[in-house]
C-alpha cells in the first residue's frame, strides 16, 4: 500500500526534464542502431545482387591459411577494440560526470550492444561475407593442388573492413562496460584518501585506481576476447564450407568445419575460464 503511494508521489514529483532524462536518452539506441542497420542493408543487398567479374581474386583454398587469416583479423581487431574500449571507459568513468549527456548516450548504446548475443554478430558477419563471397570465390573448379600456397593476409578490403567493424562493435561495448565496472569497484574512500594527500587526478589514477582495478580489467579483456572468438568460430566454419570444393567430399569438409569451430570455441571458453579465475582471485 505504502509502496504504491510512494510510487505515485514520486511520479508526480518528477518534472518534465527529469522524465526526459529517464526515458528519452536511454531509448536513443533504438533509433541510432535502427538507422545504422537500415543503412547497412543497402550495400549488403546490392552486393548480393551483382557479382563483379573484374573483381575476382584468387584466394587460397587452404584451410590452414584461412584459419590463420581469421585468427589474425580476430586478434588484431579485438586487441584494437579492447584498447579503444579501455580508453573510452576511463574517459567516461573518470572524466565525465554521471549526468553528462555524452556519457549517458554512450552508456545506453553500450548497454544495448552488450545485450546482443555474439551469435547474432556472427550471423551478420556471415551474411556480409556471403554477400561478397561471389567476388572472392576461387575460380571455378580450381583444385586445391594447384594452389600457390598459403597467403593468409590477402583479403578483400571491403570484407576486411566489414568484419573488422563487426568485431569492434562486438568487443568494444563489452570492454567499456566491464572496465567501467572495474573502475567503479575501486572504493570512493581510496580515492578520497589519495586526494586528501594532495595527489592530482592523474596520480590517483596511475598510482591507486589502476593498480587496484588491474586484475579486473585483465579479466574484462579476457571476456571481450572470448566473445570475439566465439563469433570467429562461426565465421571460420562458414569460410571452410564455402572454400573447400565439393569434390573434397562431404565428410572431410564437415570434419574441417567442425575442427575449426571446435578449436575456436575452446579458445573462447578457455578465455572465459581465465576470466572467471582472475575475477574470483581478485574478489577473494
Amino acid at each position: 500500500m505504502n509502496l504504491y503511494k510512494n510510487f505515485y508521489v514520486m511520479n508526480a514529483m518528477s518534472t518534465r526534464a527529469e522524465r526526459k532524462q529517464k526515458i528519452v536518452l536511454p531509448s536513443t539506441p533504438f533509433f541510432t542502431l535502427g538507422i545504422a542497420a537500415g543503412i547497412a542493408v543497402i550495400p549488403i543487398s546490392n552486393a548480393l545482387k551483382k557479382t563483379d567479374a573484374t573483381n575476382i581474386q584468387v584466394v587460397s583454398p587452404n584451410a590452414l591459411s584461412m584459419l590463420l587469416n581469421d585468427l589474425y583479423i580476430v586478434l588484431s581487431v579485438s586487441l584494437l577494440a579492447i584498447l579503444l574500449g579501455i580508453v573510452c571507459a576511463f574517459y567516461l568513468e573518470e572524466w565525465l560526470p554521471k549526468t553528462n549527456w555524452v556519457r549517458r548516450f554512450i552508456e545506453s548504446h553500450v548497454a544495448v550492444l552488450t545485450g546482443i548475443p555474439s551469435v547474432l554478430y556472427g550471423i551478420l558477419a556471415i551474411s556480409i561475407f556471403l554477400s561478397y563471397a561471389g567476388t572472392l570465390k576461387v575460380i571455378n573448379g580450381a583444385p586445391a593442388a594447384q594452389d600457390t600456397g598459403a597467403r593468409p593476409f590477402q583479403r578483400h578490403t571491403t570484407l576486411f573492413l566489414g568484419e573488422g567493424l563487426i568485431f569492434i562493435l562486438m568487443v568494444m561495448p563489452v570492454t567499456i562496460k566491464t572496465t567501467q565496472e572495474a573502475l567503479r569497484s575501486v572504493a570512493t574512500p581510496v580515492r578520497e584518501a589519495a586526494y586528501a594527500l594532495g595527489a592530482s587526478q592523474w596520480q590517483v589514477l596511475t598510482r591507486h585506481v589502476v593498480p587496484i582495478a588491474f586484475t579486473r580489467m585483465l579479466a574484462a579483456g579476457c571476456r571481450a576476447m572470448a566473445r570475439a572468438f566465439a563469433t570467429a568460430a562461426l565465421l571460420i566454419g562458414t569460410y571452410i564450407w564455402h572454400y573447400t570444393a565439393e569434390t573434397d567430399g562431404m565428410s572431410s569438409r564437415f570434419l574441417l568445419f567442425l575442427g575449426a569451430a571446435l578449436f575456436l570455441s575452446v579458445c573462447s571458453s578457455t578465455l572465459v575460464e581465465i576470466h572467471a579465475s582472475i575475477y574470483n582471485s581478485d574478489s577473494a
Partner: protein, 251 residues
Amino acid sequence: MENKIEISDLRVHYGDTPALNGISFDVHPNEILSIIGPAQSGKTTFLKVINRTLEFTPEATVEGSVKLDGVDIRTIGDVYGLRRRIGMVLPLPVGLPLSIYDNVAFAPRAAGLRTKSELDEIVERCLQQAALWDEVKDRLDTLGTKLSGGQQQRLTIARALSHQPEVLCLDEFSIAIDPVTTMRIEEVLKTLQKEMTILLVTNLVQQAKRLANRTAFFLNGDLIEIDTTDVIFSDNPANQATYDYVNGTFG
C-alpha cells in the same frame, strides 16, 4: 592573535538534506580543538569542507566561507597544494595499494620531492610520530594493507603527517586502535601541537577532555556551543544539551 581558520555561516546540503545549518567559529593557531556531537551531526562533513574533498560528492552544495590564514579556501587555485596543507585521518584506515614506505612517501613525492635521503628521513620521522616505527622498521617494503587494523590506522596518521600539514584533522582516529596505543598517539598529538593546529573529531568525550584546549559541540548540523574544554566539561556550560551530552544523559 590571527586566527588559523575562520568559518562564517557555513551551510552544507546533500541534495535537499541539510548537513550544516550556518555555523560560524574561529580556530586558533596551535590549539587542539575537539569537535564532539552525536552521530549525523555534521562533524565529518565539516572536515570534508576544509580540505575540499566534499567536492567529490556531486550532490553536496556549500555556502558561506571558510578562510585558512585569511584566504577563502574556495578561491585557492591549487587545490592539491591546499590539501597538502591539511592532514586528514579518517575513521577507518584506507589501504592504498602501496608498500608501507610508499604510503608515507606518497604525498611528499606527489609534491615533487625525489631525494632518497630526504624521503627516508620523512618516512622514519612520521612513522615514529605515529608510534609505528618500531613495529615496521624491518619490513617497510611489505604492503600497507597487510598490517593489522590498528597498525593501518597508525599508518594513515603517519601518511597525514608526511606532508607537514599546518592543520591536522583527525576523524575518530581511535576507533580501530587499542587503548595503550591510543594513549601513545595522544601524547604525540600534544607535542605536535607546537608545530600545527589540530582539529580532533571524537566520539570519546573523555578524549576531548584529556587533549583539547577548546571543545565545540555539534548537534544536527548546528554549532550548539564552543568554549574552552574546562567550561564545556564543567557543571555549567552555556547550553543544557551540552551538559547532557558530555555527561551521557543525552537523548
